[in-house]
Symmetry: C2
Subunit: 356 residues, 2 copies
């Protein structure tokens, strides 16, 4: 590992021009500045482009083995196959790789890290690679980790309300276009298929998203499960260190631009109370409790988009099971769900490097 | 009980001018015609208005005790307090009352009937009143009843995706207006509160519904539960005859005009298999199975709105519990969720009257 120069480590952002990369540059410009040089990397298509980070223009360089020379931490905000090939190259050149893609998440020798939940896992990285969880898992895991620490989590039943931007910029574009096409109508949404006919092109979704909800995200895996649903199960187990955690998820896309929401039914070993659960969530770093329905207070995606925390509300104890809580959470899938968690992991590494 | 005239019983539709009443007139005009006279009743405000049913204009009469004279079956599609006062009056005058409101649903001496699930309950009606369940419960109960008959249901965890029309015409109007206000923007839905500021008036919802989801439906009840969530629990127990059924529901409004959807995690006494569960649902009256995600086939509200059945898809066995199924359902809240189920109950009564 190369020593930190100017007392501060060098960072490479691979995929700086993408949706997650763009949020990353914003975060790097607004969070406490722990970095020396910041190098921006993308495909050859983007080489020479200038992007602003920390108030300064930086020229984007094309991905190559050499661009990792002298780099301490390399973030990868690129498609799976690019990470798969290039993260090991960055490691060979002396960097620690923090990967936002799905390429390594379930590999036994790659830690899957959420700094509020399992920061110590970041220190055991035999391959020099740390993975960032999937955005749907990240939308709930900080809150669930805090409750687990007190109550010992046994089972999760999750239904998601996932935003269009989970499918990247094409998802956002498709939803905006579909909404323009259904706006102004007094009849659409009342006859079978009328919305489908009105919007024409579906974009990246398998059914209309405007005036609709779509019970599908990701690709088809075994026994009818979607890849997104399996990620929620498998990544939650790995992050919480609970290989026997029972998880059922149904992932549904909703006509929201950005911020995923989840209805969660969580069952614990210990009995729960609403007061104590609220207190845990109120005190948990990275969590904000908004739970006063008498005054219309609960989180909604449109109200919390663009913010960092996991927002939790509607905390109830299951009427028929004193070991279960029902709650509703929202988290920005491009911030905590992607760029923010990656930035936080990189900052853990910067601290570790500073310790020597 | 007055004898059926012309061999066919007389029906009164109280609330014929409302949202549910309007769908009812359409159903009465298109379903098998089992009725003699059909009398249309509403408030004094609507008296004299002419509405079309079975292709003929019928004059609306104002609600009065006399309008039930000679009536065999009186449907109530009116607010709770109107049903509460007037259903007993209709019974006094010799009618059987079928009530779509929440006035009597949980009364021990009033059956809560879903013809595909508990038709026999309609015959025991000590007060002469039969209640129609809440629309969210109705969106899933036919499918759950079919699975329960084979597997013996123990617990339900439900997350809803409820349409704007569950809040009546004002709900529909508010959503359409909000969508017009957010259409065409390239930025709304990316900063906290930007959608809220853009739409201004919220209408009947406690938060923006366009480009958003709202984890609230109904009024606040004990321990943070909403009335809608308690209805799902209590009405499911009563309809299925399972007083110990464990139910947790989180009810969430989504920007859909009409048709409620639900993600359901159902736990049974017996072990389940996907193949058998699909076969049960395929054969269940009133249920249509659409479950082929490899070909993009699952139900969505925009595709099934305006139809009668409960549509079921995404049938999966819980990976960590062979006794549990996860599935996704859609049902039109104004049809099966309200008018259709009431019409079906009334038809059971017409049959009973014909038997003598
Ligand atoms: N969207 C989300 O909610 C979300 C959440 C969590 C994780 N993620 C993951 O984060 C990663 C990035 O997602 P995104 O939504 O930001 O995607 P995106 O908008 O498509 O951006 C992709 C980035 O990767 C770069 N890239 C593509 N191919 C490359 C190559 N061969 N060599 C070098 N750079 C290449 C692109 O550079 P050019 O501009 O030069 O093409 C661009 O900077 C993905 O793995 C995604 O699964 C996304
Ligand atoms: N919307 C749903 O998804 C849904 C689903 C299930 C059950 N329900 C229940 O069905 C009932 C009707 O709902 P809706 O959505 O159809 O309501 P709505 O559109 O407001 O219609 C109300 C009806 O009740 C009549 N009415 C009101 N006050 C009256 C009075 N004092 N005397 C006589 N008639 C009176 C109205 O007649 P005028 O036109 O003369 O005022 C109108 O016909 C409610 O109990 C509702 O909770 C609704």
């Amino acid at each position: 590992m190369s020593p930190a120069r100017n007392g501060k480590p060098t960072l490479a952002v691979v995929g700086a021009t993408g949706a997650v990369g763009t949020v990353m540059l914003d975060l790097l410009s607004t969070r406490e500045d722990v970095w020396g040089e910041i190098r921006l990397v993308a495909s050859a298509r983007s080489a020479g482009k200038k992007l602003v980070v920390r108030g300064e223009e930086v020229e984007v360089v094309a991905l190559s083995p050499e661009c990792f020379d002298g780099v301490d931490v390399a973030m990868f905000d690129v498609p799976d196959e690019v990470s798969k090939e290039w993260a090991p190259i960055a490691v060979e050149r002396g960097a620690i790789a923090v990967d936002n893609s799905g390429a390594f998440r379930m590999d036994a020798d790659v830690p899957l890290v959420v700094p509020e939940v399992n920061p110590a896992a970041a220190r055991r990285r035999p391959r020099g690679i740390i993975s960032n969880p999937n955005c749907t898992t990240l939308s709930m895991i900080v809150a669930m980790g805090a409750l687990h620490a007190e109550y010992n989590l046994q089972a999760l039943v999750v239904a998601s309300y996932q935003a269009a931007s989970g499918a990247g910029q094409p998802g956002i574009d498709a939803l905006r276009e579909q909404i323009s096409k259904v706006a102004g109508s007094d009849t659409l949404g009342t006859q079978p298929g009328d919305v489908r006919r009105a919007i024409g092109e579906l974009g990246p979704f398998p059914a209309p998203l405007a005036l609709n909800v779509v019970p599908w995200a990701g690709s088809l895996k075994e026994d009818g499960w979607s890849s997104e649903e399996l990620k929620v199960r498998n990544e939650s187990r790995k992050i919480l260190g609970l290989p026997d955690l029972r998880v059922s998820a149904t992932c549904v896309r909703v006509p929201v631009i950005t911020t995923h929401s989840l209805a969660v039914h969580a069952t614990f070993e210990r009995e729960v109370t609403v007061d104590r659960a609220q207190a845990i969530l109120r005190d948990a770093p990275g969590v904000v409790l908004v739970d006063d329905p008498a005054n219309g207070e609960f989180p909604t995606p449109a109200d919390v988009v663009g913010t960092d925390p996991t927002w939790v509300g509607r905390v109830r104890r299951a009427i028929d099971d004193p070991h279960s809580l029902d709650l509703f959470l929202c988290g920005d899938n491009l911030r905590k769900g992607a760029a923010l968690n990656t930035a936080q992991i990189a900052e853990l590494l910067a601290e570790e490097l500073a310790e020597g």
